[in-house]
């Protein structure tokens, strides 16, 4: 028998949902709010550029945040009734949704560029101090032989390659000093160019002030 969706030449959302992988690790709870929220609006309320989020979880983050905000409105409306248990239930729900939205790696700077990660240099043992440890795993560089070697960032900070690569795949800065490294993220690159232009403009102004004062 043809289903409702076939009859209306629509994609069955239940079948479609099965096809998409669940970014939250196998749990059956995967609210797809796109069915009752206009997509454009969801995208525009997301403060982070969706381009740098993994495509599977990108809209979900905005959706979680939006759903949390909706419940926030419910909560405000409930206040005069003073139903404590109901309040607490909504509070917990909102906290959980916000937590999901703020889950790993979705805050902060974009990933380092693929070519930067690929071209990380190899640091030979002789360049390492005897008691030097990787600040990510806290292991002495000399101690563990099973590792993929030591590398350094342009700021000269040393790391186990196995420790720094997962970080750079999330964020383009040095864990020790936060010095930035290149990113493929267009939004980040645009902002960086703008900041540089603003800096040059400010410096030019200072130079002029100095000349004419």
């Amino acid at each position: 028998m043809a289903s409702y969706y076939d009859d209306h030449s629509l994609e069955d959302p239940f079948k479609a949902r099965k096809k998409t992988s669940n970014p939250y690790g196998g749990s059956s709870f995967n609210p797809d709010l796109s069915h009752f929220m206009p997509r454009e609006e969801t995208e525009s309320t997301s403060s982070s550029p969706s381009s740098r989020l993994p495509s599977a979880s990108g809209p979900a983050v905005a959706d979680f945040r939006r759903l949390a905000e909706m419940f926030g409105v419910f909560r405000e409306r409930e206040e005069p009734l003073g139903d404590e248990a109901h309040q607490e239930f909504l509070d917990n729900l909102i906290t959980q949704l916000m937590d999901e939205a703020g889950a790993s790696g979705k805050h902060g700077p974009p990933p380092a560029s693929k070519s930067f990660i690929r071209d990380l240099p190899f640091v030979p043992q002789k360049d390492l101090k005897r008691d030097e440890a990787c600040i990510i795993c806290n292991e002495n560089f000399q101690e563990n032989e099973s590792r993929a070697g030591v590398t350094k960032l342009p700021c000269k900070h040393h790391f186990d390659r196995d420790c720094i690569v997962p970080w750079l795949e999330l964020h383009n800065n040095c864990p020790a000093c936060r010095a930035e490294v290149p990113s493929d993220d267009p939004e980040w690159n645009r902002k960086k160019r703008e900041a540089e232009l603003a800096k040059y403009a400010a410096e030019a102004e200072v130079d002029q002030d100095w000349m004419y004062s």
Partner: protein, 149 residues
């Protein structure tokens, strides 16, 4: 999955060499979940208070920050009524060079220096900005009421 060596080391050091005014103990049945107690810093409205928090290390730790929440009610512009903390290193300023110890020291420092210009609890921040003395008094009252054993 086995507990990373780094977490084991951190846990041991927290027990053997605790930071002043801070204790953190992991649950026996979940070594990623910590019961935390922070003493209200001297010369702060939270002095004399004993504040309970929960700290959880997600699977991605240390690539993503620990989740930390106050369990004891507290009147602070950067902590909301659910106990969530507005602290940059717990969000976009996280670095894997930070540890449970440094995170908890930062939370302790936040108690000493509330920042009403970056609020999480808007009504509290408003109060703090408009009448700091009265807000501090409320914070002291809450400390007495909720944070003393």
């Amino acid at each position: 999955m086995a507990l990373p060596k780094r977490i084991i080391k951190e846990t041991e050091r927290l027990l053997a060499d605790p930071a002043p005014g801070i204790s953190a103990t992991s649950h026996e049945d979940n070594l990623r979940y910590f019961d935390v107690v922070i003493a209200g810093p001297n010369q702060s409205p939270f002095q004399g208070g004993i504040f309970k928090l929960e700290l959880f290390l997600p699977e991605e730790y240390p690539m993503s920050p620990p989740k930390v929440r106050f369990l004891t009610k507290i009147y602070h512009p950067n902590i909301d009524k659910l106990g969530r903390i507005c602290l940059d290193i717990l969000k976009d300023k996280w670095s894997p060079a930070l540890q449970i110890r440094t995170v908890l020291l930062s939370v302790q420092a936040l108690l000493s220096s509330p920042n009403p210009d970056d609020p999480l609890a808007n009504d509290v921040a408003q109060h703090w900005k408009e009448n700091e003395n009265a807000a501090i008094q409320t914070a002291q009252e809450w400390t007495r009421k909720y944070a003393t054993a």
